[in-house]
Each structure stands twice: as structure tokens, then as C-alpha cells.
């Protein structure tokens, strides 16, 4: 016989202002199976919890209903109290009479009645509750870091330094990411490569880090603590265990006219190449799409001259299966390119360039050795126009968000130009200046006040070329909307930060969600900003949204700490709110008929095929079972099952129907 205790909370005035709590407590006390009922000002307070614990002990309660706020707030609190009092915590249920009643209705009898109705449904539910035990899952204490940019590097180093092993996968031939392409960084103007390369080397040399470059994650299965990952090791055509990185091969390679991605196409590389001098590892790969040997079947120069005999044309992509406990996704971003802005002539006029190209021009390791020279004729521009928001905050072009970093890098670009060409003119067309970071606004002011960069508030309508000059047609909205026409030698567009082209594929492979612009979605924008909705998969850097280096590094460390936290115990416990397939005595074993419809609809791939066999190994029946580690308790499978063979613990069909019947039979 059930002995249920009902505890009605006033929540200060939050509930009692509109609900007659004393009346609810009184009426609840008369419900069948209710042995004790009381109201109290703050149930979640220490005395409130003590009241519950004492009542359970004193009245030998078998289950409790706490009528107060949303279970999101205090279910854990009250379940712990129940456990302390010696009953299974899953015999504690909450009736939400705050968010669902007092906050949304005026004071009236009907409001009190609704509160009572909700209490009654939960009383009926708790009568059907069963004791549940948390699920224990072992943890593989290895992290996978996808992406070797500054985000991945930071996360990998943090986890590795905490003593756990890390596998880093980078799709390019070298780690370093976009940061390795940058010239100097705001707001301190220190050299990007100078601060980055030591970190890259540290990754390569760290005993806890295994680095796979020129590799991609092919498949992810499993669940938090127990992921199984397949990595595609793309054929490098160079045996890195033999290669010494001497560089003879790329000096002699005859395919010399391949646009150099690292220099944003403003220079050339060879078919066998290492992307930049500070690359890690600084050993080459063969770009088969541009290699004469692979395209035309002749050449083979590199193989002939390699002193280490490291060149192998026959090698194929290989697949490696690894087990990891946590995954840090740090796949980075891309920039919107090409003819995106036809009115600005990007792609049409050589001297209309984007921000990343400017970084390469300003970089000491770039194609001009750090001198700002325009791509068309190599002349040093006398006048440069910088256009902010060239693609961002532009609904018509499909990118309505702010790219966040452009205000700062545009100020930096203008400043770098002025530092190198003192008598040059720099104009910035902007809509708003968003410089909200530490020392950021000071930086922009410095560009304006000390370096005499002309900021014009207004958007550019069109850029065209005439007599070797770029005519920039804009407007000064601070001067009564007067048109402004500038004859510039070079134009730098602050193009939008966008998600990687393959972001959607990556997200689908990882089973993580993403927004309409294909940036990966965090579990909660404020309270869980580095986790995804899939437990055990964290986000770092610009794959989640545009961000600058300081923010990227903080986020990387944050996600690393999530992984380290996970690895701090040998196993983890999970709420037992998972689906189960019923079990019956042989020869039925279960009422499941193995139609597998649930398997297809399960968003977490938590349902597996199960074969029932007799002692001699003969197959008797095919059914399904739920992997409790993967199941998130969403209940989709329950809805799909025709003969109710699958049920959700803690929210079983029986419990749900009891709740409904309690309402209907009132």
C-alpha cells in the first residue's frame, strides 16, 4: 500500500500569492494513498528539506510529491533529500505549480484547483514509480581534438598537460590554422607566428599528444566516455618516418605554378610541398591533383632525388580506428570569397582584396616580405580604402550576422599600412565600430587619433576601376548623407567569417547540431557555451561562431577543462531515464518483434539489434535492445513501437496513463 507524502511550497510569495497553498495541502491530504500532506514557505531551504526527511521517516512514506517549481530547478535537491531519508530517489516527483500555475494565472479558485489537479496527477504517477539505479559507464581517458588551429592546439596542450592522452587530427599538411597566416595581432600588435610557433612545436613534441596531419575524421560512433572514431589518413605519398624535411624535393619539383593557399593565391607553390617554412611537421606531402606523376603518369623527379628514399607513389588512404572518451571539435572557419560582392568588383579587379590577403601582404613571411604592395603591379599604394561589413550584416547576401573580428582587424590593417607608409592615406568605411574587448576601443581610437586613419560612417555602394585607380563610391551619413568618392589604389574588403564548407558534413558525422549558417550549436548559449547537445563532444574556436584569438583560446581551455573533468573519474553515472525493451520468459524473451522501426527513428543511434540464441547457439529470435549509454530518454522509440515493447524508465506508459486518468477522473 502506497504511503505518499505531499509537500506544498509557497516559494516565498511566488506561489502563495495566487494559489491557496493551505487548501491544496489540505485537499491533497485526502487523496487516496496520501499519508501526509503539508505546506511550507521554502521547501528547498535547509529546514524545508529537513521537514521532508523527517516526514518520510516518521510517516514511513514510500514516495513523495513536492509541489513547487520546475523540476529543472530543484528535482535534484529533493531527490537527494529523499535518498537521505532512506528511500530510492526516483520515488520523488515534482508537481510544477509555479511556472505552470502561479506565474501564469491570476489569484482565483480555478488557479488553486489547477494546482491541486497537477498535484493529483503526480500522486498517481508516483504510485506507479519503481526504484531506479543510476547507470555507470566506463570512461576512456583519451581525448580527440579535431582541428589543429590555435583552438585545437590550446585544447590539446591543456588536456595533455593534465596528464591525459590526446589524439589530434588536422586535415591540412601542417597544424597552425589561420593564425599562422596572420601578420600581427590586435590589440598588442605582436607577431602572430612568433607566439604561435612555439605552441605548434610543443604539440609535436608532447609525449601525451599523437598528431595526425593530412587526416580527417571519417566516422564517429559510441557515446560519451566511449567514442569509437575512424580516422582517414590521407595518402601523403611521402613516408614521414624516413623523410628528414631537407627540402630537396620541393626545390626540384617541376610543377611550380600552383597558387599557394597559404599566401591566399598571391604566390606559388610546388606539387610536393610543405605549406610554410615553420610548418609542423615540416615534411612535405604530394598534392596529387596538381602532380604531373599522378595526372600525366610521368615525372617522378622527387622520388629520384630524395636522399632518404621517402617518396612512395603507391601509398593509399589508410583508416585508423581509435577509442576516445571526449571529442573537442575545433574545425575553424572560412572566409566568404569570390564574386560574392559583384558591386565591389571582388574577383574582377586585382587590387580589391580581402582581409586575409592583406594579412599575407603585411606579414614578414608573406609574398612581399611584409611590404604593402598591390597585387596588380606591385606598386606601393598611396591610398587604401578599407570596407568593413563587406558581407557581414547583409541579409540580402544571406549573412545577417556580425563577423565580430572585422572592426578590430580593419583598424589593425589601417594602422599597419600607416606604419609602413607614413604619407599614405587610409580610409575606413564602417557602419558601427564594435570594439568591446579589453583594450579594443583604445586600439581603434589609436588608429584614428595617432595614425590619422579616416573613418567614414557609411556603406560603399560601388567600386569600379578607371585609369588604374579604384573609384570607391560611398556616402558620409554623418555629413547629411553627402556622397563621397575616393580614388584609391587598393581596396581591402572585410569579408564575412563563415563556417567551413564541410561543416555540415562534419556535424552530421559527429551527430551535433548546427545553426542555419552551419556554425556548430552549443548546448546552452549562456550556461553551457562549450558543450554540444551530444554529451562528451565539446566546441572550441570559430567553428561555433566568429571569434578572435583571445576568445578562441579561452573557449579552447574551457572545453579542455570539460574533458579533463570528465576524465577525473574512472566511470561516470547517468540518470536512469532511458528506454528499455521489455523482457519476457522464453520462448518469447520479449514482445518485441524486431521490426526495427525504433532503430531508424532513434536520433542518438542508441538502439541495437539483439539476437536471442539457445544453448547450442541456434538463433531463436531477433529483437532490439537499448544502449543505456547512448539513450537520452527522448521517447521517440516509445511512440514508434506498435505493441508497446519499449518503454521509458521514469516516464513509463503506465505512469503517463495514470497521470492522464487522474485528470480525467477528477
Amino acid at each position: 500500500m502506497a504511503r505518499i507524502g505531499v509537500f506544498i511550497c509557497h516559494c516565498g510569495e511566488n506561489i502563495s500569492a495566487t494559489v491557496d497553498v493551505a487548501k491544496v495541502a489540505e485537499k491533497a491530504g485526502k487523496l487516496s494513498g496520501v499519508a501526509y500532506s503539508v505546506d511550507y514557505k521554502y521547501m528547498c531551504s535547509d529546514p524545508g528539506q529537513t521537514l521532508i526527511i523527517d516526514a518520510i521517516k516518521e510517516h514511513k512514506l514510500t514516495g513523495i510529491v513536492v509541489a513547487s517549481c520546475s523540476p529543472r530547478m530543484h528535482e535534484g535537491t529533493f531527490r537527494k533529500a529523499a535518498e537521505k531519508a532512506g528511500i530510492n530517489p526516483y520515488f520523488c516527483e515534482m508537481a510544477n505549480i509555479r511556472e505552470q500555475v502561479s506565474w501564469v494565472h491570476p489569484k482565483s479558485d480555478a488557479t488553486t484547483q489547477k494546482a491541486l489537479d497537477i498535484v493529483r496527477t503526480m500522486v498517481e504517477k508516483v504510485k506507479k514509480n519503481t526504484a531506479l539505479t543510476p547507470i555507470k559507464v566506463p570512461i576512456t581517458k583519451t581525448a580527440l581534438v579535431i582541428g589543429g588551429g590555435i583552438a585545437g592546439i590550446q585544447a590539446a596542450l591543456d588536456i595533455a598537460n593534465a596528464g591525459h592522452s590526446v589524439i589530434m587530427v588536422e586535415k591540412k599538411p601542417s597544424i597552425g590554422g589561420h593564425m599562422s597566416q596572420l601578420s600581427e595581432t590586435f590589440p598588442t600588435l605582436d607577431c602572430s607566428q612568433c607566439i604561435l610557433t612555439p605552441r605548434m612545436v610543443e604539440v609535436a613534441q608532447h609525449p601525451n599528444i599523437t598528431l595526425y596531419t593530412y587526416a580527417e575524421v571519417e566516422k564517429v560512433t559510441g557515446f560519451v566516455g566511449n567514442f569509437e572514431v575512424t580516422i582517414r589518413m590521407k595518402a601523403k605519398s611521402v613516408d614521414h618516418s624516413k623523410c628528414t624535411g631537407c627540402g630537396t624535393c620541393w626545390q626540384k619539383c617541376p610543377s611550380k605554378k600552383i597558387p599557394d593557399e597559404f599566401n591566399e593565391g598571391m604566390g606559388f607553390r610546388t606539387a610536393i610541398y610543405s605549406p610554410f617554412p615553420q610548418a609542423v611537421p615540416n615534411k612535405p606531402v604530394i598534392d596529387r591533383d596538381h602532380c604531373n606523376y599522378f595526372q600525366k603518369g610521368k615525372c617522378g623527379v622527387c622520388q629520384k632525388i630524395c636522399p632518404a628514399g621517402a617518396i612512395d607513389y603507391e601509398v593509399q588512404d589508410e583508416f585508423l580506428d581509435v577509442k576516445v572518451g571526449a571529442i573537442i571539435t575545433a574545425t575553424g572557419f572560412d572566409l566568404k570569397h569570390a564574386d560574392f560582392f559583384p558591386e565591389y568588383g571582388y574577383g574582377q579587379f586585382k587590387d580589391v582584396i580581402d582581409g586575409m590577403m592583406f594579412e599575407r601582404l603585411a606579414s614578414a613571411s608573406g609574398p612581399t616580405a611584409g611590404e604593402i604592395r598591390r597585387p596588380s603591379d606591385g606598386k606601393i599604394p598611396e591610398k587604401i580604402v578599407f570596407v568593413a561589413c563587406a558581407g557581414s550584416r547583409d541579409k540580402a547576401k544571406g549573412i545577417e550576422y556580425c563577423s565580430k573580428i572585422c572592426c578590430m582587424y580593419t583598424a589593425k590593417h589601417a594602422m599597419l599600412y600607416k606604419h609602413k607608409k607614413h604619407d599614405g592615406d587610409a580610409y575606413v568605411f564602417y557602419m558601427d565600430i564594435r570594439a568591446a574587448g579589453k583594450d579594443y576601443d583604445e586600439f581603434v581610437r589609436r588608429a584614428i587619433e595617432e595614425d590619422d586613419v579616416h573613418y567614414i560612417r557609411g556603406r560603399v555602394s560601388r567600386i569600379y576601376e578607371k585609369n588604374g585607380k579604384l573609384i570607391v563610391k560611398g556616402v558620409d551619413t554623418l555629413m547629411n548623407g553627402d556622397p563621397v568618392e575616393i580614388e584609391a589604389d587598393m581596396v581591402v574588403l572585410a569579408t564575412a567569417v563563415i563556417a567551413n564548407q564541410d561543416a555540415e558534413t562534419v556535424a552530421q558525422r559527429m551527430h551535433i547540431s548546427y545553426n542555419k549558417h552551419h556554425f556548430f550549436a552549443e548546448a546552452h548559449p549562456k550556461l553551457r557555451p562549450v558543450e554540444t547537445n551530444t554529451a562528451g563532444i565539446m566546441l572550441a574556436g570559430a567553428c561555433q561562431g566568429a571569434k578572435d584569438i583571445p576568445e578562441t583560446v579561452s573557449q579552447a581551455s574551457a572545453s579542455a577543462s570539460k574533458a579533463i573533468g570528465l576524465f577525473s573519474s574512472n566511470e561516470m553515472t547517468r540518470e536512469p531515464i532511458v528506454a528499455v525493451v521489455n523482457r519476457q520468459a522464453p520462448p518469447n524473451f520479449t514482445s518485441c518483434t524486431g521490426c526495427m522501426l525504433c532503430m531508424e527513428v532513434c536520433p542518438y543511434h542508441a538502439i541495437e539489434r539483439e539476437e536471442m540464441k539457445d544453448r547450442t547457439g541456434n538463433l531463436i529470435k531477433v529483437a532490439v535492445k537499448v544502449n543505456a549509454g547512448l539513450c537520452q530518454g527522448c521517447g521517440t522509440c516509445v511512440a514508434m513501437c506498435r505493441n508497446k515493447s519499449i518503454d521509458l524508465q521514469g516516464f513509463s506508459n503506465d505512469q503517463m496513463l495514470s497521470e492522464v486518468m487522474a485528470l480525467l477522473n477528477s
Binding site: 564574386d339 559583384p342 558591386e343 568588383g345 574582377q348 560601388r462 569600379y464 576601376e465 578607371k466 573609384i471
Partner: protein
């Protein structure tokens, strides 16, 4: 299939040579165009400046007549008429209530599913497949292809693939043996409807266009819009005053230029009707090499 033809008012008057040359080219290639019977004016900028319903009703009447007469496609060589009629078609097919209202005004029913062809689409679809056999001359000159506003904007009815740097006319001119130049004013506004009411503005805007074309070495300007033609050709005295210099750059309709490459006599193409003499264009022509 019968191809409908909507000349619009200008092609019956000030830009008769556009219509004449289009028919000459079509005839040469064996394509028949049939005028929509009893068509009326599209309302031009006057209607949409003063009354939105009228700006829909006038084009709708013509569309309804074309449908009634069984045309599946209608060629509209005038850019202004094209813009008004394509815009009307779009608005009517997007909004049932508007369609019902307009049907009441014009006392005709319409489906608004007729295909409207610009002169570029017409040339591409019907003339290009057979043109090579008819092109006997090479225009042998640098031309500036001028598209103006009405083909390129608004984006909902734009008849051009790249609205900031269209190439449709340039392709036709390459076919005719000319060398289209890359220039900056392909889709800038010429002043359009202000041709009579604000000649000063027309002179200013059209002057910039002519000047840029001349600066970049064009020997002729090619247009596909009667308003552009009037402003660029007829308003030369005002433009001369505005620029303080005389630029004798002839302005040809696209069909006139194509007609010349097909060996159609200049008179038949109406070249004698222009204000800026077109002799230079004609003298540039050489026989196409076999």
C-alpha cells in the same frame, strides 16, 4: 509556336528603327513575330509614379489579351515595357487578391503564366541557333554595351545573369564581330523618364555614360532600350553643354548592330534616323572571313 510581339509606344514612334531592325533580323533568320492585337501602353513611369493600381492594370490588359490570343511567349524589346509588364506579372501571380482586383478593373481574366522574352532572350533562343549562317560581316570595332537600369533591376525581374556586370549584350556583339569593352557604366541610370521634364538631369547622367565609354576607346554604344537611346542620342546638344566637349559616339540598337553583321542595308535598319551620325560604324564593317 506563335511568338507574340509587344512593341510598346516608343517602338511605334521615336524608336521605330528598333522595331524595324528587330523585324529585319528576325525575317532574315526566318522567324515570324506576331503583334498582340489591340495592345495598349504599359503606363511607363507615369503610372507607377501616380497610381499603383493603374500601373498594374495597364500591363495586365496587354497580358490578358496576349493570353486570349493564344501566345505562349511574348517578345518585349523595350526595356521599360519589359520591366513594367514583368513586374506586373510577378505581382499578380504572387497575390491572388491583387489579381482579382485587377481582373475587375480590366474586365478580363488572366493566368499570368505567359513567358516574357527580353530582346536578349529572344536573340539567344531564336536567332543564335541559326545566326552563323546569316552573319556575313564583321563589325570590327570596339563597342560599349549599355544595359541601363530596367533590365538589371529590381532583382525580382532582372533579365540579366550578373546584374552588376551583365554580359548578355556583349555576347551578341562578339557574335557580330565587334569587341565589347570592359567599362564602368553598363548599368548606371541615363535619366530615363526625365527626358522631357528634366533635360538637365538627363544631360548629366547620360553625359557621364558617354564620357566613360569614349574614354575607354569605344567607337559606338549599343543599347536595347528606347529611353536609353533617346537620352544618349537625341540629347547630345544638352550633353555637349554639360560636358563642355563634343563626343560623336554613335548609339545603336542591338538589333541594328546585329543586322549590320547580317548584311542588312543601313537604311532598312533605320540608321539614318539617328541624330549622331552612324557613318563611322558602317565604314568599320569588313567582310567576315570564311
Amino acid at each position: 509556336m506563335r511568338i507574340g510581339f509587344y512593341p510598346g509606344c516608343s517602338l511605334e514612334g521615336s524608336s521605330k528603327e528598333y522595331s524595324d531592325s528587330l523585324f529585319a533580323v528576325a525575317e532574315k533568320c526566318g522567324i515570324m513575330l506576331e503583334e498582340i492585337k489591340d495592345w495598349s501602353c504599359c503606363g511607363a513611369s507615369a503610372a507607377h509614379n501616380l497610381n499603383h493600381d493603374l500601373a498594374l492594370a495597364l500591363p495586365a490588359r496587354t497580358l490578358a489579351l496576349a493570353e486570349k490570343q493564344g501566345f505562349e511567349e511574348v517578345v518585349i524589346p523595350c526595356a521599360a515595357c519589359y520591366s513594367r509588364i514583368a513586374g506586373t506579372k510577378q505581382e499578380i501571380s504572387n497575390n491572388v487578391a491583387t489579381r482579382k482586383k485587377i481582373e475587375r478593373y480590366i474586365d478580363l481574366t488572366l493566368e499570368a503564366d505567359i513567358k516574357i522574352l527580353t530582346v536578349f532572350e529572344f536573340l539567344q533562343k531564336y536567332i543564335f541557333p541559326v545566326a552563323d549562317g546569316h552573319i556575313v560581316n564583321k563589325l570590327n570595332q570596339k563597342t560599349a554595351c549599355y544595359y541601363g537600369c530596367l533590365y538589371s533591376r529590381p532583382k525580382e525581374t532582372a533579365a540579366l545573369e550578373q546584374i552588376e556586370n551583365p554580359m548578355e549584350m556583349d555576347k551578341v556583339m562578339v557574335k557580330a564581330g565587334a569587341t565589347p569593352i570592359d567599362w564602368a557604366f553598363k548599368t548606371e541610370c541615363c535619366g530615363a523618364g526625365f527626358t522631357m521634364s528634366r533635360t538637365d538631369i538627363v544631360a548629366k547622367l547620360s553625359g557621364k555614360i558617354i564620357e566613360d565609354a569614349a574614354d575607354r576607346g569605344a567607337e559606338s554604344i549599343i543599347v536595347a532600350c528606347p529611353m536609353c537611346h533617346v537620352n544618349l542620342d537625341m540629347r547630345r546638344p544638352e550633353i555637349k553643354k554639360q560636358l563642355n566637349k563634343e563626343i560623336n559616339l554613335p548609339v545603336l540598337f542591338i538589333t541594328q548592330a546585329l543586322g549590320l553583321s547580317m548584311g542588312i542595308p543601313a537604311d532598312q535598319l533605320g540608321l539614318n534616323k539617328h541624330y549622331v551620325p552612324t557613318d563611322k560604324v558602317v565604314t568599320c564593317i569588313v567582310k567576315k572571313e570564311a
